[in-house]
């Protein structure tokens, strides 16, 4: 017995070293890169389009370990936790600024990325990377208002989301940054404000909107708008085209006060061990074939020259997916907010969403009542059982006598 126990202990101890040994063999293999991208953000060979990762491996012999995340924040956490080294990541603008400021990105060698020349000039020298040192744009997009022309008059401004005529048919973003931006634009405040009174004003406006809002959603927008269960909702232009093909009554508006213009760009984190292969990947993503396949698959705006013209879009769709420079000039980018401002925004948003004053005591009351009822039922059951047992004992005693 002792011997088996010892063997088992030894086996377990050995097992604990496996991950460190396993890495050694993996590192010996030539040219594998770890790519970390948003979910559903690359053409994967469905719908008869190019399988971009497979095409890259075929062209260069470099293998791709591809995994996905669902938000900039979870990407950030994964990078900060450590334990995994990624070679190419694709964060959004404000997250890139944050990663640069924390020294988590490597400077790119643009000599290895000749296709960078075909990136549109309006996507260079951006706010988050003013000297084009760390990033190469992957996709860009805009946030506007989607509405159903059957029920809603032509929309030109964010005020439409506060219009009482559409009460109960309005959808709203379920994330603080986009929701606050809508309110701030409606109020004429800078979307990157860190001033507490400005944020409070925006929160008040959002609280005032709450009775009119049907629900706070993200990707449920598709179903709700296509089925006309909701009439008006702020969302991304690329997704509007998907919805518009299902329901032609829908229309899109770039609000006159301005709107969010975002860019997701490819970067190489400091943990990367294979920088040249990563740059080859970035270069391949900027090639016309890869960019065109990705743009056709996702529906978002490609920064690569010539892709817009190659896509099968109607005139109307093109005007929304690739708007004129005049419209684009009204777009504003999100910047990283300070920790304090983010905290204030998050707690204000929580207040708007939960409406703390009324719901909480109702919930507590219901919970307390439930506990009391359960306790009462249990006590009644027990005393009942005791009485029965006592009666039985008496009966038994009677029988024995």
């Amino acid at each position: 017995m002792k011997k088996t126990l010892l063997t088992i202990c030894a086996a377990v101890a050995l097992l604990a070293f496996v991950p460190f040994l396993a890495f050694e063999t993996a590192a010996a293999k030539p040219a594998v890169i770890n790519v970390y991208n948003w979910g559903q953000y690359i053409s994967d060979g469905s719908d008869g389009l190019l399988d971009v990762n497979a095409a890259f491996t075929e062209a260069t012999g470099i293998e791709v370990n591809y995994s996905t995340y669902e938000s900039n924040e979870s990407l950030y956490t994964k990078l900060k936790t450590g334990g995994s080294s990624y070679d190419v990541i694709i964060p959004s603008d404000y997250m890139i600024a944050r990663l640069i400021s924390e020294g988590m990105l490597q400077k790119l060698n643009y000599d290895n990325i000749p296709n960078y020349a075909s990136i549109g000039e309006s996507f260079k020298n951006t706010l988050y990377d003013p000297n084009n040192e760390y990033s190469v744009p992957y996709f860009w997009g805009t946030v506007g208002i989607i509405y159903n022309t059957r029920y809603v008059d032509t929309v030109t401004s964010w005020d439409a989301l506060w219009d009482e005529r559409y009460s109960g048919k309005i959808l709203m973003f379920d994330n603080p940054r986009d929701a606050f931006a809508a309110a701030e634009l409606a109020l004429g405040i800078d979307v990157n404000t860190e001033d507490e009174s400005d944020l409070r004003a925006a929160a008040e406006l959002l609280a005032a909107q709450k009775p009119l809002v049907q629900s706070y959603v993200m990707d449920q927008v598709f179903d709700q708008m296509e089925r006309a269960e909701a009439w008006i909702a702020p969302y991304y232009a690329g997704d509007f085209i998907t919805m518009h093909r299902e329901n032609p009554d829908l229309a899109f508006c770039f609000p006159e006060e301005g709107f969010n213009l975002y860019i997701d760009a490819m970067c190489i984190p400091t943990s990367s061990t294979n920088k040249e292969a990563a740059e080859a990947y970035i270069n391949f993503m900027c090639s016309f074939e890869a960019a065109a396949a990705n743009a056709a698959y996702t529906g978002y705006g490609s920064p690569v020259n010539g892709v817009a013209e190659s896509l099968e879009l109607t005139e109307y769709e093109r005007g929304i997916a690739y708007p004129s420079d005049e419209i684009l000039s009204k777009g504003v980018a999100y910047l990283t907010l300070s920790k304090e401002a983010t905290q204030i925004m998050d707690s204000l948003w929580l207040d708007v969403r939960t409406d703390a004053s009324t719901t909480s005591w109702v919930t507590y009351a219901v919970a307390t009542a439930a506990v009391v009822i359960i306790a009462a039922v249990y006590l009644a059951y027990r005393s009942n059982k005791k009485r029965k047992r006592a009666a039985k004992r008496r009966a038994d005693a009677d029988g024995a006598r």
Binding site: M1, T4, L5, I8, V12, L15, A16, V18, P19, F20, A22, F23, A26, A27, V32, N34, V35, Y36, W38, G39, Q40, Y41, D44, G45, S46, D51, A54, N65, Y66, S67, T68, Y69, E70, S71, T81, G82, G83, S84, S85, Y86, M218, D219, F222, D223, E226, R227, D239, T242, S271, T273, T298
Partner: protein, 281 residues
């Protein structure tokens, strides 16, 4: 009263299974919208099997589930046999210790495992520890208490004289284990194996913290599907997963049903028990 209870039962079962039925119906629908059933089709299943992302990830999930459940069951069985040989007080203390990880919130287990792996990676100067092995180790870790818990009752109910009798008749301890003991505790081992398999297959939270760039499982990929509405091939995938787990459950019930029907004790134990009974009276 009993009719009211029956109605409540039916309502409860209905709501319990409604979401799954809806999902299965959606997997045979031509549209993407669950609310409108357009036309019956198998095309979603075709699209699923042509998908070059989801199928490898499903295989990854299955590999991790099979390996982790087999290893955890082997370790769990060994642990159960070892725990039995302790005295009663120490045994119950050890059982409490092994049960704590089960009640521990998944998120705590996940974060602490990822911290441990990252620390181990730093100690060994490896920046890329997270991957297949960490995922497998994490799954074995959270499966272990379940396998111990399901093997333990079989082990405690087993008559210790069985093993002694086998050894009296010339078996080595290893032979005694494989020829006698394992047959007595097999139902516990099988149910432990199946529980571990299902737990591992549907784990998301712990996997989310320990997966690495080179190896991920299916739930992690699906969690990141937020850019577009869920494609209906995902419904087909979920339907297949549900069918698979259902099959596992049915197998589990058949196995345990057979074990109950079979005369549980071999002839020797019956004799021993009879003698005990005689002594008692």
């Amino acid at each position: 009263m009993s009719r009211a209870l029956k109605i409540i039962l039916i309502v409860v079962l209905f709501f319990l299974y409604l979401p799954i039925i809806l999902l299965i119906a959606g997997s045979f629908n031509t549209g993407t919208d669950l609310a409108v059933f357009k036309e019956f089709t198998f095309s979603n299943y075709g699209a699923l099997f042509r998908d070059r992302t989801l199928i490898p990830l499903l295989l990854n999930s299955l590999i991790v589930a099979v390996l982790s459940s087999v290893i955890a069951t082997a370790l769990g069985t060994a642990a159960a046999l070892g725990i039995r040989s302790f005295g009663k007080r120490f045994r119950s203390a050890v059982m409490t210790v092994t049960n704590i990880p089960m009640t521990n919130p998944d998120i705590v287990t996940g974060v602490s495992l990822s911290l441990l792996f990252v620390l181990g990676g730093k100690l060994f100067d490896r920046s890329n520890v997270l991957g297949f092995t960490t995922l497998l180790l994490a799954h074995i870790t959270f499966n272990l208490p379940y396998t111990i818990l399901s093997v333990m009752p079989r082990v405690t109910n087993m008559d210790p004289s069985l093993r002694e009798a086998a050894m009296d008749l010339g078996c080595t301890p290893v032979q005694a284990f494989f020829k006698v003991v394992i047959h007595e505790i097999l139902p516990g081992i099988v149910s432990g194996l199946l529980i571990a398999f299902t737990m591992s297959l549907d784990d998301f939270v712990i996997s989310y913290f320990v997966y690495g760039p080179s190896f991920a499982t299916l739930p992690i990929e699906i969690y990141s599907y937020t850019k577009k509405p869920l494609p209906p091939k995902i419904y087909a995938l979920f339907t297949l997963l549900f069918a698979m787990l259902l099959a596992v459950l049915i197998v589990m019930n058949i196995v345990s049903g057979r074990a109950d029907k079979r005369p549980r004790r071999s002839n020797i134990t019956q004799l021993v028990f009879r003698r005990k009974d005689v002594e008692k009276t």
